[in-house]
């Protein structure tokens, strides 16, 4: 009895979190999308008269040391950071899930080798391979996407392999195969929808990790580099202005936090929904 109540109340809490997560994520996406087409000021326009002005109605997040509007710059930065993270998750997630699905579905020696390899690789923080790859390729947004997607493949492989291996023995898979469905059809149309409870949260976690990794690398100056704006690079600028313009760091850090929190809540809600 107690368990049933716990499950049900967990469901209600889950719905609240899901909605909150959706609202936050959608606002960040909307912010990003608007930033792609419109910013209140030109994010690169300098204004000598309004250097380091605190947040006001005309400059919501204030201005930086060149008098550039921080709100507009944050919009552009979010656009870069979010799109890098989206592409990373799309590429790394697709490659990893595919590898994992094939390994989990077919099993055998290839599965064993692949799993040993990804077990070993996931033991390392994704930052290390990402740093190595970016040092090979050099900075730039496309290179960051490539480096991060490669670094994220093993963890997606692991999650997806476990999910598909768990589904393989279920009666509906056998039934579909007996009806003559081809392997790709069984994998994509029958099994994939049933692994969403595992894969979707993995995607949301991957997205937050990608946002953080991109911001971290750009902060170090080896990720996305100017003229492309990135929240990470802007944070490194903002750090030098902490005493003069603390709102700069607050704005960049705040957007980063909301983006990660939103998808985090979304993932948590999806697990219970």
């Amino acid at each position: 009895m107690r368990n049933r109540i716990a499950v049900r109340s967990g469901g209600r809490a889950g719905r609240v979190l899901l909605i909150l997560g959706l609202v936050l994520t959608l606002s960040v996406l909307l912010f990003t999308l608007i930033g792609a087409f419109y910013t209140p000021y030109d994010p690169t326009e300098m204004n000598g008269l309004e250097k380091l002005s605190p947040p006001s109605l005309s400059h919501l997040f204030g201005t930086d040391k060149f008098g550039r509007d921080i709100f507009s710059r944050v919009m552009k930065g979010t656009l870069t950071t979010v799109s890098v993270a989206l592409f990373t998750v799309a590429l790394g997630g697709a490659a990893g899930s595919l590898l994992g699905a094939v390994a989990g579905y077919y099993g055998g020696a290839a599965d064993a080798i692949l799993m040993r390899l990804s077990d070993t690789l996931t033991a390392f923080p994704a930052m290390l391979p990402a740093l190595l790859i970016i040092s090979l390729l050099g900075p730039g947004k496309y290179h960051v996407v490539l480096a991060l997607s490669l670094a994220f493949v093993p963890s997606f492989t692991r999650v997806s392999r476990a999910a598909f291996a768990g589904e393989r023995q279920k009666p509906y898979v056998t039934a579909a195969r007996l009806q003559g469905a081809s392997d790709p059809r069984v994998l994509l149309l029958h099994m994939l929808p049933n692994t969403r409870r595992v894969l979707l949260p993995a995607v949301t976690i991957g997205f937050s990790n990608a946002v953080l990794a991109e911001a971290g690398m750009s902060y170090l100056g080896i990720g996305v580099t100017p003229p492309d704006a990135s929240l990470g690079y802007m944070l490194s600028e903002a750090q030098g202005l902490l005493s003069a313009a603390p709102w700069y760091a607050l704005a960049c850090g705040g957007v980063l936090l909301v983006a990660v929190l939103g998808v985090g809540l979304l993932g948590e809600g999806l697990k219970h929904a």
Binding site: A13, A123, P125, S135, L235, G264
Partner: protein
């Protein structure tokens, strides 16, 4: 004994593979380190002389084997950019990084585990929603952003430390540890929430099991059931998670060291990647890999101590 041998062998093999991949990665980098070091104006003769001096004229495998042989005997080679033995450059950086990591790990276990146990008992749906919200909020804080926040709050406003002015560990140990505490705090905070969540999820998973009810039916209090039975089953996943945490601390430590200007291994790594100083990068990465793998093995050992019945079984982390 056999398991131990097998584990050690696979650990060594992984290390060998890692070192080879790292070495190979740098081989593929376009640049020719000798030419980069001397600049565009250098004559062909000088470049060749430097290549010979650094051993770059030899074929790839000879260099790898040579480097590996040196590594095993404690000779990590000579840094390209500093022209000093790698060990001499690396040694002074180990202290600050180790202290930061250890402090962070201490904070994580001391705060995370009790929090996880404590919050496992909450049931009211509103409380659950609020708890999960704050958990997600704290987990979402990027360590380096928190680091910037701490520099502002404790540095600029409260003057508890001067960001960027790191006192040398050997000259002012107390001041250095105090400085590193803030870096450790930045690293630890999101991980505290993650650890608490991890333990809570496994504890509440176990609390619903029959053996808990049976134990309580025999007259054990909730607390006794928790400490005698539940923890034994709930801890292994958390211990494995803590091992992963030690590894992640290495990754986010690289960035947080930059935030606080801590002269540690992470900053050395980033600088060496920029300088294409691959003797240093190889050494650092292989050492970090060693650390990651050893902490994983350590977690396995701790789990065997908690529950000897798991011996031979696969750990399900």
């Amino acid at each position: 004994m056999k398991t131990l041998l097998k584990k050690t062998a696979s650990l060594l093999l992984t290390l060998l593979l890692t070192s080879f991949l790292v070495f190979l990665a740098f081989e593929l980098i376009d640049g020719d380190p000798a030419r980069t070091m001397l600049g565009d104006q250098a004559t062909e003769q000088r470049v060749q002389a430097l290549q010979a001096e650094l051993g770059l004229d030899k074929p790839f495998f000879t260099r790898y084997i040579g480097w590996l042989g040196g590594f095993v005997t404690g000779d990590f080679g000579v840094s390209f950019s500093y022209r000093q033995p790698v060990w001499e450059i690396l040694a002074p950086k180990l202290g600050p990084t180790a202290v930061t990591g250890a402090l962070a790990f201490l904070l994580i276990t001391v705060c995370g585990l009790p929090l996880g146990l404590f919050s496992a008992h909450w049931k009211h749906p509103a409380v659950l929603a609020v708890r999960t919200f704050f958990e997600q909020l704290i987990m979402a804080v990027p360590p380096f952003v928190l680091g910037i926040g701490l520099s502002w709050g404790f540095g600029v406003v409260l003057h508890a430390f001067t960001p960027g002015d790191f006192p040398a560990l050997s000259e002012d140990p107390l001041g250095a540890v105090r400085y590193l505490f803030f870096a450790a705090l930045a690293l630890a905070v999101p991980r505290i929430a993650m650890t608490a969540r991890m333990l809570r999820m496994s504890v509440s998973g176990e609390l619903g099991r029959d053996y808990v009810r049976a134990s309580m039916a025999r007259g054990a209090t909730r607390r006794q059931a928790l400490t005698r039975h539940v923890l034994k089953n709930a801890l292994p996943a958390t211990v494995a998670f803590l091992a992963q945490t030690m590894a992640e601390l290495v990754g986010s430590g690289v960035i947080v060291e930059q935030v606080f200007g801590v002269p540690g291994v992470g900053r050395l790594l980033v600088a060496s990647i920029g300088n294409r100083d691959y003797p240093v990068v190889c050494t650092v990465i292989v050492m970090l890999a060693f650390f990651v793998l050893v902490s994983g093995a350590l977690a396995d050992a701790v789990n065997l101590m908690i529950d000897p019945g798991r011996r031979g079984g696969k750990s399900h982390a």
